[in-house]
């Protein structure tokens, strides 16, 4: 970590946050590209399937960090089912609700390989901008089932419709470009509907490319957010029982206790900033809690179609494109 003094801090008091009195924020800073470049740092902390991507964006204004967050949520495109042609639906689920559920299924298709649908494109779409699926399920009674069996799995066939039942219908030359695995639903076990013998679903589904601003189903991330790096300072020695009490006030691993039974700050990064120290008046004065104002810890949890790092890069690309068109607008004036 760099020197504390240089970092702009936001103090977390018991009932409110407070800026450092020396910190004037962005009030009279003039944007300077060189300064910006020198300050800017991106550190990838973690990137795994389970937690998604965690990386640090250091030395930027909140507006920039926020722009990436917003773009990832709502302007990075992804593919989702947009139209549902219902040929038959004798199940108890209503057509509209069924269609809504289908829309929310996450698809594995890479949106970068597709184009947006344009105004003039037909209802059916082309192989460049449309993926087509079908869902044909019919629930029947299992003939081999015993009379005394009561488990639905044993007596009925297809009584639960899962996203795995979705079948991709390649359009044009799509079959040569994509494989079944590259366009299907990401999870096979999403329950779509429950059927009973005689119920039948026969749907044709049209997936298109879209952005999260239009509908949340097009958002490529489960969530993307950032938080400011927490900083905890102990202003005096806390020892003995109090040290353990202090430790319990923070997330595990934040406060360490050395051999002298004296508490020290081990790593404030993963503190949940619960401010529960302030419950104990005798400890409250021993701690200052703060956030580093220009250190953003990003968390990107992808839905699965794109890798989180790709989503971030896509967001950067979207921003770039927006800037470009903005500059063009200004220059054309």
């Amino acid at each position: 970590m760099t020197d504390n003094k240089k970092q702009p801090l936001l103090y977390m008091e018991e009932y409110r946050t407070k800026q450092d009195p020396q910190d004037y924020g962005l009030a009279d800073e003039v944007f300077n590209m060189d300064v910006f470049k020198s300050k800017l740092q991106v550190v990838i902390v973690r990137n795994d399937e389970e937690h998604g991507l965690e990386f640090d964006l250091i030395g930027v204004y909140p507006a920039i960090a926020n722009a990436f967050r917003r773009l990832m949520l709502s302007e990075v495109p992804s593919m989702a089912i947009e139209k549902v042609y219902i040929y038959n639906n004798t199940s108890i689920i209503q057509d509209e609700v069924l269609a809504h559920r289908m829309g929310l299924l996450p698809l594995r298709a890479d949106p970068r390989l597709f184009a947006y649908r344009t105004e003039e494109s037909t209802e059916q779409g082309t192989e460049q901008d449309t993926l087509e699926y079908e869902l044909k399920v019919k629930c029947t009674r299992r003939k081999d089932a015993n009379k005394d069996q009561s488990n639905f799995d044993d007596i009925y066939k297809n009584h639960k419709v899962y996203s795995g039942h979705l079948k991709w219908l390649p359009k044009g030359k799509q079959a040569q470009i994509y494989s079944e695995n590259s366009v299907n639903c990401i999870h096979e076990d999403i329950l779509i509907a429950q059927l009973r013998p005689g119920h039948e679903l026969d749907l044709r589904l049209i997936a298109v490319k879209g952005i999260g601003k239009d509908h949340a189903k097009f958002s490529p991330v489960a969530t993307a957010y950032y938080r400011l790096l927490p900083q905890i300072n102990l202003t005096r020695d806390v020892t003995g029982k109090d040290a353990y009490l202090l430790q319990s006030c923070f997330s595990p691993g934040v406060i360490g206790i050395d051999e002298n039974e004296c508490a020290y700050v081990k790593d404030a990064r993963y503190d949940s900033c619960s401010r529960n120290v302030y419950r104990y008046p005798h400890l409250a004065d021993a701690v200052t809690m703060a956030r580093v104002r220009d250190h953003y810890i990003f968390n990107v949890e992808s839905v699965g179609a794109l890798k989180p790092e790709v989503i971030f890069l896509e967001a950067v690309r979207v921003l770039k494109k927006k800037c470009r068109s903005f500059i063009d607008e200004i220059e054309s004036e």
């Binding site: 926020n66 709502s74 108890i92 609700v97 809504h100 958002s219 900033c273 401010r275 529960n276």
Partner: protein, 1135 residues
């Protein structure tokens, strides 16, 4: 088995008196005591009172009624008689025409618009000519059946069987299905009958009794006027001096009268004037007294054929009408005399001591009338009318000489009783001439907006008071309604405090026979009052014993008697709903066995120890003990309001003191069903709970497991309903968690954007996209295809094709080939759903030669700004054997700006703004709220329960469990906070948030977490309305009124005033005339009258006729005035 347990309970009391250490030891609270509540509800249920009372009627009462009116005779033939031997109500069935009946189910009746009813059949014996004939199973009418009554097909069915019958297993029943509509007979609250009530009526002290027997209902008053006492009754024009009444009742000597009143000097002094009055009237004998009364009789309008002398009539009156409930055998009026003397003494006592006035609003003085007793009144009336009509027919027909002998059975028609009962229930008008009873609104359509609204309706109590009267007494919360009626659940506005709801554990008694209790009481030491003279009655040590308002006898040892009687009740020697209580001020012991009393179970406490022990509760948990066993073993007993008032009831174990007699089972049961949904209601300001009670009934959610099979005229369902994160015991007991109405929304309490002022809510668009607040609205539209008397019938035609394009025209686009819409189609405004045609002439027979009957189109078309989908089409036959076509229409609605939401704390708000997810604030964990609520909603509302719900919900989410917000209990805030801390959250529930717009951190920590929100039925889509041009009313030519008629928006008087004061005269002119009903009229300048076609009919000239424009309504007024011989004249001037 029960016997053994009974002994157990006795032995188990190991506490020994005199052990002082034991005294000091605090009583251990019973664990899981609340489990008694579900055990109670299992046997009694929430609507059990309705079902019990109806069962009592169809199994017991109906037989009594028939037996009381069993013989019909005729004056024309002394040999003729018709005798009812037995009566039965059968199993529900449906008449499918040609006298074929088939068993039916409630759901079939709902769908087919028929009545769920069962035949009432009688066994009769009658004479035809000289023959005596017996007929069995003769149908005299059909009885609408209450769902889940003893004769209903649903009773005793398992969940699976119920689902086979298309019935929701959680549906409580207790209502009727009449002509396809679900009808509830509301519980009616009344002043207790057969009970003396002393009160001050405009300065006059009076004691009144409303006597009620099967035959008569009458009101008798004893009042004091100018120091003298009188008896007042409807049937007499004047107040009768009380001494005259005594003499008429056979208590002739003044000495004897005084003995009844009391022989002490003070009573004698105060009664002297009354005695003197009788002396002045020269009434000395019984005959004279009857003569005097006879002279004061109200002249009857219909004089009966046999004329009696006035004195005889007076005696008849005393016998049957005045104080009708007091028994008189063999013209011995002694009991009535005693009763009257008691009334006089009540008045005399109240004159001296104002505290002795009775309180009308006291719940011990109230009785609740249930479906059973109301229907029994109606049935008795109809049955009597049928018999009377049979008698009339017999009188008329027997003297006639005919080929066939007179046979009454041929004249017994079932329709009268059937239609009478059916129309009474379906209209709610209870008119019984015999009792001069005329009540409207007794029944209501069961509200199926949500499960809770249906359940809440079943527990509703309607008061007989006028709603317009501005009295606070009957409306205010009565301390005696504690535990019986919910203190929160009452509507706001005019019916406030008059419409109430039963609490969770309330039971309403049904009548039990009083004779065994009387025998028991005599055996326990009550002495018959007829065997003592007046003197002992007035002895201050003697207590009178009343049973159901009648004097039973007296006792010296009051304490002993009450104790013994209660002991016998606890041991099961008399019904558990018999109540015994003492009034020390009146020196009376009252025993009640009548129906309609409110009562409630309590744990019995003896010697400061509750009799229910942990052992018993463990047995309950294991299932070896049921609630009834607690009653059998005398561990728990029912107390009605009067007896409750006579007991010392501890609210929990801590408060048990030496004199405590009972222990509350669970405090939360004092709330009703609706108030039970509120988490932490004891932390809320009380009106907020009341508001929630009203709003919970408008919440969308699930109605029942059979909601998909129903075709209701209006039904709101939530697509993804959720059980609340913070539950309460009541929620579990009422199965609200199985049929929920709402969703848990993550709420951030903060301000946002300014679109959240005045309780408006901010919604997250992503949440809506993912299905939050999505609802389904079902409507139906139906029609019948009839056959007419003239051999014509309605027909349904297929879709019409356009001649040019050969395409089906737009209006018929959704029609199937049979002329009815196809399921799954989307119907737009003005499209036709059923292409029905009706013959132009339906009454007269068409001409023979005319082969073609002209038809007019009467299509059923869809109306609405938004299209709907056809969910289902049903074709069936209704009770009149016409075709019945029902179409179920469905709309899916997504929350939009203006839709109404509410939490469970009376905090309602409309959506003010829908915000994209990226603009919503988010916290350190990446959580962004579904909903933002403005914190200004809290300080003035003081809904602390909501903040606790949020905290509990948040901890519950983290822990993966439900928290409880049960009234007077629930998860403690400290424990909830400990859970939050354990998961690394701030103990106050406040999180660090970032603005979604600027990206910077917010200065304040935001209180956030899940709160259960209900979507209410008020949605903008149903309310939005605007009009530029549109239809006009025919008469006035002004724009129509109301949204449904696409009406205009009225520029009212106040708006007009504004325009006048502003001086915008031309705007007024435009709004009020040009845009409304401008009309050109001709006016004659000479006579000032309206002219027509430039011709003044009065002047017979067209010389001075001018055209002016005026509102059509004005012209109409002139014409109407003219027709009334008032001539309005217009004087025109240049302008």
């Amino acid at each position: 088995m029960v016997e053994v347990k009974k002994d157990d309970a006795g032995v188990d009391n190991t506490w020994e008196p005199g052990d002082s250490k034991e005294w000091a030891k605090p009583i251990k609270p019973l664990q899981e005591k609340w489990k008694l509540v579900p055990a109670f509800l299992q046997v009694k249920g929430l609507v059990k009172q309705h079902i019990d009372s109806f069962n009592h009627f169809i199994n017991v009462d109906i037989k009594k009624i028939v037996r009381a009116n069993e013989i019909v005779t005729s004056g024309a033939d002394p040999l003729f008689y018709l005798k009812y031997l037995d009566v039965r109500v059968g199993k529900p069935d449906i008449d499918d025409g040609f006298n074929i009946t088939k068993a039916t189910t409630p759901h079939e009746c709902r769908l087919r618009d028929t009545t769920y009813s069962a035949p009432i059949s009688v066994d009769i014996e009658y004479t035809r000519g000289t023959q005596r004939i017996k007929r069995n199973n003769l149908l005299i009418g059909r009885m609408p059946l209450m769902l889940r009554c003893s004769n209903c097909v649903l009773t005793g069915k398992s969940e699976f069987e119920l689902s086979k019958l298309n019935e929701c297993p959680l549906d409580p029943g207790g209502y009727f299905v009449v002509r396809g509509q679900e009808k509830v007979i509301l519980i009616q609250e009344q002043l207790s009958w057969n009970k003396m009530l002393t009160e001050d009526f405009n300065g006059v002290v009076q004691c009144q009794v409303t006597s009620s027997t099967h035959e008569k209902k009458s009101r008798t008053l004893v009042l004091s006027k100018h120091g003298k006492y009188y008896l007042k009754h409807n049937s007499m024009t004047d107040d009768i001096p009380i001494v005259v009444i005594f003499k008429a009742l056979g208590v002739v000597s003044d000495q004897e009268i005084m003995a009844h009143i009391g022989l002490d000097a003070r009573s004698q002094n105060r009664f002297g004037a009354s005695l003197l009055e009788a002396f002045n009237l020269k009434v000395f004998t019984q005959q004279r007294a009857l003569d005097y009364m006879g002279s004061k009789l109200v002249v009857k309008r219909f004089q009966s054929a046999t004329t009696k002398s006035p004195s005889e009539e007076a005696r008849e009156l005393l016998l049957t009408t005045i104080l009708a409930h007091v028994p008189v055998d063999n013209f011995n009026f002694q009991m009535k005399a005693i009763y009257v003397s008691l009334m006089v003494r009540r008045v005399m006592a109240a004159e001296l001591d104002k505290t002795l006035f009775d309180d009308r609003d006291y719940y011990g003085n109230k009785r609740l009338e249930l479906a059973g007793s109301l229907i029994s009144l109606m049935f008795e009336d109809l049955f009597k009318r049928m018999n009377w009509e049979l008698k009339m027919i017999a009188d008329k027909n027997i003297p006639k000489v005919k080929a066939a002998q007179f046979d009454v059975v041929k004249h017994m028609r079932a329709a009268q009783i059937t239609v009478g009962l059916e129309s009474a229930i379906s209209s709610g008008n209870w008119t019984i001439k015999r009792f001069k009873m005329e009540r409207a609104g007794v029944t209501q359509v069961l509200s199926r907006l949500s499960y809770i609204s249906a359940l809440g309706m079943m527990t509703r109590v309607n008061s007989q008071f006028e709603k317009t009267r501005k009295v606070s007494g009957p409306r205010s919360l009565q301390p005696s309604q504690w535990g019986m009626l919910c203190p929160s659940d009452t509507p706001e506005g005019e019916a406030c405090g008059l419409v109430k709801n039963l609490a969770l554990m309330t039971h309403i008694t049904t009548e039990v026979d009083e004779r065994p209790v009387m025998t028991l009481a005599y055996n326990a030491g009550v002495e018959d009052i007829r065997e003592v003279s007046g003197n002992p009655i007035n002895n201050p040590h003697v207590f009178l014993v009343f049973i159901n308002g009648n004097v039973l006898g007296l006792t010296i040892n009051q304490r002993h008697l009450v104790h013994n009687l209660r002991y016998m009740r606890r041991k099961g020697r008399m019904g558990s709903f018999v109540s015994i209580h003492t009034s020390y001020t009146q020196r009376c012991i009252f025993i009640h066995t009548d129906g309609g009393r409110l009562c409630r179970p309590y744990i019995i406490v003896e010697k400061s120890r509750p009799l229910v022990l942990q052992r018993h509760l463990d047995e309950l948990l294991r299932g070896v003990r049921k609630f009834d066993d607690f009653l059998h073993d005398g561990l728990i007993e029912y107390l009605d309001v009067n007896e409750e008032n006579d007991s010392f009831i501890a609210w929990n174990e801590e408060y048990i003191e030496p004199h405590t007699t009972h222990l509350e089972i669970e405090p939360f049961t004092l709330l009703g069903v609706c108030a039970g949904l509120v988490p932490y209601p004891h932390h809320n300001q009380s009106p907020r709970n009341t508001y929630q009670c009203a709003m919970g009934k408008q919440a969308m959610g699930m109605i029942g497991y059979n909601q998909k099979n129903r075709i209701d005229s209006l039904m709101y369902n939530l697509v993804y309903p959720q059980a609340p994160m913070v539950k309460s015991r009541t929620i579990e007991l009422t199965n609200f968690d199985k049929l929920p109405a709402g969703q848990n929304a993550t709420v951030a309490v903060m301000s946002y954007s300014g679109y959240d002022i005045e309780d408006a809510l901010i919604l997250n668009k992503a949440s809506i996209d993912r299905g939050y607040g999505r609802c389904l609205v079902y409507k139906n539209s139906k029609c019948t295809v009839k056959r007419y008397a003239n051999q014509t019938f309605d027909r349904i035609m297929g879709p019409v094709k356009d001649a040019l394009t050969n395409k089906v025209i737009f209006k018929h686009d959704v029609l199937d080939t049979d002329g009815i819409v196809a399921p799954g189609e989307q119907v737009q405004n003005k499209q036709i759903m059923i292409n029905k045609e009706m013959p132009a002439v339906t009454s007269i027979n068409p001409l023979e030669g005319q082969s073609q009957v002209p038809y007019t189109a009467v299509p059923i078309s869809y109306k609405g700004p938004e299209p709907s989908y056809i969910e289902r089409v049903m074709v069936s036959a209704n009770a009149e054997e016409d075709f019945l076509i029902k179409i179920l229409l469905r709309q899916t609605r997504i929350p939009e700006i203006g839709d109404k939401f509410s939490s469970r704390h009376g905090q309602k708000g409309v959506t003010g703004l829908i915000v994209d997810q990226e603009d919503m604030p988010f916290n350190d964990f990446g959580i962004c709220p579904d909903m933002i609520m403005n914190p200004h909603g809290f300080p003035s509302r003081m809904t602390v329960g909501k903040t606790l719900e949020l905290l509990g919900g948040k901890a519950g989410v983290l822990e993966g469990k439900f928290h409880y917000g049960t009234a007077f209990g629930g998860s403690k805030a400290v424990d909830v906070q400990a859970e939050l801390v354990r998961h690394g959250f701030n103990y106050m529930g406040k999180d660090f948030f970032y603005s979604g717009i600027t990206g910077g951190p917010l200065e304040a920590y935001i209180y956030s977490g899940p709160v259960y929100y209900q979507k209410l039925k008020h949605m903008v889509q149903d309310k939005m309305h605007a009009r530029a041009r549109g239809p006009k009313a025919v008469l006035t030519r002004q724009p129509t009124q109301g949204r449904s008629r696409e009406g205009g928006l009225r520029l009212g008087e106040m708006e007009r005033d504004c325009l006048i004061s502003y001086g915008a005269s031309m705007l007024i002119m435009e709004r009020l005339m040009i845009s409304s009903d401008a009309f050109e009229v001709d006016v004659c300048r000479t006579c000032g009258r309206l002219a027509y076609c430039s011709w003044c009919h009065f002047c017979q000239s067209s010389a001075h006729v001018s055209k002016i424009s005026m509102p059509y309504a004005c012209k109409l007024l002139f014409q109407e005035l003219t027709s009334m011989n008032v001539v309005p004249k217009l004087i025109l001037e240049n302008y």
